[in-house]
Symmetry: none
Subunit: 204 residues, 4 copies
């Protein structure tokens, strides 16, 4: 009965609603099955466990997010190492747009991840994004230091913090501003603010 992916789809939809409603921890697999018009056994045919079901919803968007960031850092190297590059003027327009677009294309998953993932393996997703960005930034900064021979000492706390600020700004916008265009405009202001006196902020 019910062909192929129909059941799986119903489960995913029902799970989305339940996770959104109650959060990962308090979401009930029973309720998810009931609302999908399916028994628990069926759920366990498609998904290993609760964690696996959650991953089925948010996993792909998360992976893609990291891919976008990775790609950005890869490409960026050339630009940043060019002689006339000035951090304080870099508004990161391009990544900002790519990221915002990706997030708003996966709006449900994004909200789920950012507000309802406590108890799941994604509960620290924001920290993971921050850490990833931070380590990539440091790599980049070291390359710059090498090529340009600068020796200023980075204040690691402030670096971490500024990155946190930017990431939190994304979070805040996504969870408060449903309109993609406006979100993009505002995130640019954030980049402007943080990058404007980047040097003063992150170096001692």
């Amino acid at each position: 009965m019910g062909n192929d992916k129909e059941t799986r789809d119903k489960l995913i939809q029902s799970a989305k609603a339940e996770f959104m409603d109650k959060g990962y921890n308090k979401a009930s697999l029973r309720s998810i099955c009931a609302n999908a018009g399916v028994t628990t056994g069926a759920l366990y045919f498609f998904f290993k466990d609760k964690a696996d079901l959650y991953k089925a919803i948010v996993g792909k968007p998360v992976d893609e997010l990291f891919e976008i960031m990775q790609a950005h850092f890869d490409e960026d190297d050339e630009i940043i190492l060019s002689p006339d590059y000035d951090v304080n003027d870099d508004d990161h327009s391009e990544v900002a747009q790519l990221l915002i677009h990706h997030i708003y294309s996966n709006y449900d998953a994004a909200i789920l991840l950012l507000t309802k993932s406590q108890g799941s393996e994604y509960e620290n997703i924001v920290d993971r994004i921050v850490d990833f960005t931070e380590s990539k930034s440091i790599e980049t900064m070291e390359k710059i230091a090498e090529s340009k021979g600068k020796k200023k000492k980075v204040n690691r706390y402030m670096l971490h913090l500024v990155i946190h600020v930017v990431v939190d700004s994304f979070v805040h916008l996504v969870t408060h501003e449903p309109d993609e265009k406006k979100a993009l405009a505002n995130i640019r202001k954030v980049f402007k603010m943080t990058m404007h006196n980047w040097t003063d902020t992150v170096f001692d």
Copy 2:
């Protein structure tokens, strides 16, 4: 049986540890009692329910936090309305210090609140702080507008966001920097960064 407030204290200590370990939702009253060497009934003699127990740990520090902020906004009015006041130069040194000191004086409660309160009535504490600060800021800005006759239009998203950024910076520092002095130094950098081009950021 059991003299003074010994039992209550043991329960509070045990609860702190359990909440810290598992978070509000997953914390088990059974475990708390067991580790305190006490029966569940005893817990319910001292505390109404799980929420009340949690409140006994974090309630007072939270209330005091809001009192500090309120006092600041009350006193600040005079300063801000004085003719030679310049937002962009205000590093909020005093409040910063008071707040940081208060937080580090209640370190356990702070960590609990900021990282383990999901499911409790305090799960939105950060948002409450942001909202409080925002509404007070708007009041202040309106007074300035009145007295100085300026008419720039506030970008409410950005105002909210900048305040969020500052508050999140506090959160981040508290959860990552155990040393009070260093935390204070860094929070000042944050104020500098956000206030420096305050005008460009929060007005359209």
Copy 3:
């Protein structure tokens, strides 16, 4: 595991015994499960909660009881409105038999309802039966008054009381007389007694 409705049946039987033994309030779901040789979880697969389990035992008989009474009042209208009808001679033979038969066909449930339902949604079942009968009686009496143009004023207390008396007589018989035939014979005496000077009793 466990075929057919075996487990559900065992639970119902065990529940009947427990409710009979301790009454609704003090009946323990634990005991019910234990005596049924089943875990508590199993109970909650079949029944929503304690109330639902109780309903599963007494619900149907109650509904049917009201249906029998409703049918009686519907059919009775013709008879009562016929010109040669005399209340004082009506011994309600037919309904009496139907009701007694229905009750004795559901003897366990009847005893449960009448003596062990305190705390459940059925604790006022007797009052509900009285109220139902009373309101139907008033409807009927108004129809008679219309058709026969009589105007005697009903003493509502006494009407209520007499109906209560009849209903309580049923209760008393069911709980004291296990033999259906004897119960029927006696209930007829009650009807005779109460109907005999009906007019003197319920009218001022």
Copy 4:
């Protein structure tokens, strides 16, 4: 602190309210103490346990009730055995008045007993009254039979039932009619109804 009976009184008042509100079973000694502004220890100084506390409220009225009935049956013997006594004309005016008066003089206790005593040792109070009345009636009837040489066979079910009916009528009136005078008037109608064809009803 608090002299002598003050505390006891407060406990009794608080207990009355709690029992009335929740019934014997679900009444909480904790709540009773809390509302009396007293600790549990104090309660256990004055009362042995929950049952004892309940008895302190309803015990005396109950005992007095039985005394009134006993006195009635004692006095009645003479009258009933006089040659010109006719059951069917006895409306039991005197006892009725005494009983009704006693009940309405202890209204709170009466309501408690009749509607809230499930789980206590008084849960069968109505049955006890019926049984007492029944056995006394039989004694009396045997005396009559002896003195008058009559031999009609009593239908014990119907005797029990008619007494039940009368007692239930008292119960019903007390719980529905707060005015003593009206209650008395109505109870007289009940006696009239049941006594009117006493002979037909209780003899085969």
